[in-house]
Symmetry: C2
Subunit: 425 residues, 2 copies
Amino acid sequence: MSGLLPNSSVSVPTAPAPLRIGLIGFGCVGQGLYDILRRLPEFGAEVRRIAVKNPAKARPLPADQFTYHADELLADPELDVLVEVIDDAAEAFRLVSSALRQGRRVVTANKAMVAQHLPELVALQQHHGGTLLYEAAVCGSIPVIRTLDAYFGQEPLRSVSGIFNGSSNYVLTRMGSEGSDYAPALAEAQAKGFAETDPTLDMAAFDPRSKAVILAAHAYGVLLSPEQVLNLGIENVSATDIAYAGLEGQKVKVVAGLYLLPDGQLTVLVTPQFVGPASPLYAVDDEFNGVIIEAEFAGTQFLRGRGAGGHSTGSAVLADLAALRGDFRYAYAKLNAQPLTYTTDLELEIYIRTDNELLLDQLGFTDITEEADEDGYIVGYVPLCALLQYRDALRKAGAFVARTGNVRPATAHSDESQVLEAVSC
Amino acid sequence: MSGLLPNSSVSVPTAPAPLRIGLIGFGCVGQGLYDILRRLPEFGAEVRRIAVKNPAKARPLPADQFTYHADELLADPELDVLVEVIDDAAEAFRLVSSALRQGRRVVTANKAMVAQHLPELVALQQHHGGTLLYEAAVCGSIPVIRTLDAYFGQEPLRSVSGIFNGSSNYVLTRMGSEGSDYAPALAEAQAKGFAETDPTLDMAAFDPRSKAVILAAHAYGVLLSPEQVLNLGIENVSATDIAYAGLEGQKVKVVAGLYLLPDGQLTVLVTPQFVGPASPLYAVDDEFNGVIIEAEFAGTQFLRGRGAGGHSTGSAVLADLAALRGDFRYAYAKLNAQPLTYTTDLELEIYIRTDNELLLDQLGFTDITEEADEDGYIVGYVPLCALLQYRDALRKAGAFVARTGNVRPATAHSDESQVLEAVSC
């Protein structure tokens, strides 16, 4: 091999100055990151200060390593980066927005906070010159945000869909493969550290909805309020529903979908869905997450990786720290393009199991595909708007709803028009 | 939603100056890129000049759009970026290295060229300040180089493996699912534009070897000469071999593997392998490529996407153009780290079908697992070094070799020591 140089003759830049980190939060992700940085001294990052909330809580490090006032970290000019990994979205926004107002560099894993405040967070970066990265907020270890933001930043996308919540996927996998009941499967997910502190966020699909809202900004340049997006979860799932899916060789998965419709509008929803073996999501089990990207030119891409856990989520924070050192920022390229409009004016084919006749009436079925009185389920088309309007009633009534995957434009409404007009979506 | 701003109030930077592109080569990838840019006027890139080699060849654009002297593009200071997508690796290196010596920004899809000259290409970027990106050179539309370089730049990786050649995968899929013979399946792949001009590059696994060499630099910081890496292909595959795999519910796939061994050394090889349904590669069919990344902290990642075709490879060039506009460069972070050593001192369990007894003797089996005289195959352990030494003899003798996936340290050599000492690996 003429011209092959040994490693040593390729000079690479000398190691940069150590990165001094202020870590806010020391739960699963914070401890995961701390451990990773300890095991990678050559990266040259040092957790200089750690802020936590509760002085009484037992922790794996000596008490003198902690402060109980996160604002002290904000006031410390010696810290190069703030890493925010706390649960409380309101407090997280207070801290992160305050740091960005100082023009600082911040990494967060808080999907609820980012989803609720993305427009302000983008504006704060623009006005004050700071940088916010949040790869760990969506799909744990999968580099989905930077792939959508940078790699697919110029390319029109037909859809982005996937399993964005490791905890509910773990529960469904246990129920499907071992016939576990819901409650013990959830307890197992919590014991393994896959679940949010409040299980409702995972199980009622608030968590994957936040992630879908974040991806809508990067993949489509559409800034949504989480409340605009339907989220239905698995709190009411039963063996009947799993068995129904199994009859067709399918599994129940909570699928978040961002779909560019034939009319050029975007719709986003997060619900249980029946998924067959032809879909790459079928094989995404346990706490894994998977994302399918259908791109105009690249074709179909699929990414799978761990969606939960301290080390895998900590790994995404590590990647963000390295990116900050290289002055990487999200381009938000599609926010600059001709804006897409968001719509919920379409009909979904759903499976619903409930004995609440009133609710079934209220949903305004436009077509019934299948009805099984003995098992108490109906399959048919309903307006997405009606599901949004009655989401809380469905949860409260113990109803379980799953998409079949079939979608169609809203039909000409006749009798259902009253229902639809009452919906502000 | 307090604080939700409509899209319009988030100001984003105004569109950058148009990117003036000099395109060298107008085959499948060049035409794919040209079409993509034509369909994305909002990206603001303009193919200002196109250089091709053969004035006599019929082309889809008027002749006055072409020059036949690529050096004119190198000499044109009005071009912001040169995109090199020609077949000829030697000429590609001459052009790309010359452009980098001028400190220019260059995108290439030429995997053979990059693999042969990576150390010089890294050094030229360092010394002259230019930038070279080559995402399209590995796995078509899958963003594997930037994922390894940037996202996993700090994280130790246990292995990177996958299907890196769409053309041979297409042939194997046709043979497996439809019982096609090798020759018509190859002709079909060529007709669809998935194959290199010289089919040997794809079918004898020279092409995926180049890709493995490129990934070794980004994933492990190890600069290899392609000749150091075993490549065995599918030119001699037969229905017998496909059927053997099928008996165990497996498929034959050409798998490139970069493995960190328990002793901390790296080995790299590209050969057919029997792959069962538990592997995500099992479902990677047709011209698709797939990559499995086993990372220390993130766990196992899997990426799948189109590995060939003008639009999907053009999409990767588009992403590189957008990255250049954002001043992205590969960090080559692991070239800076403590270098790993490369080894071929291990044994692989292989399936080999040949009637050449001398060759079987020369390979120096250290263990025979299975032997079927009637079908003419043997399964057993051989030194990797012996496969490297006898690679050309195996091809010439019509032998088909596939890995089972089992690997072990080199055994204490007794009789085989002569064989091993004769191998310069």
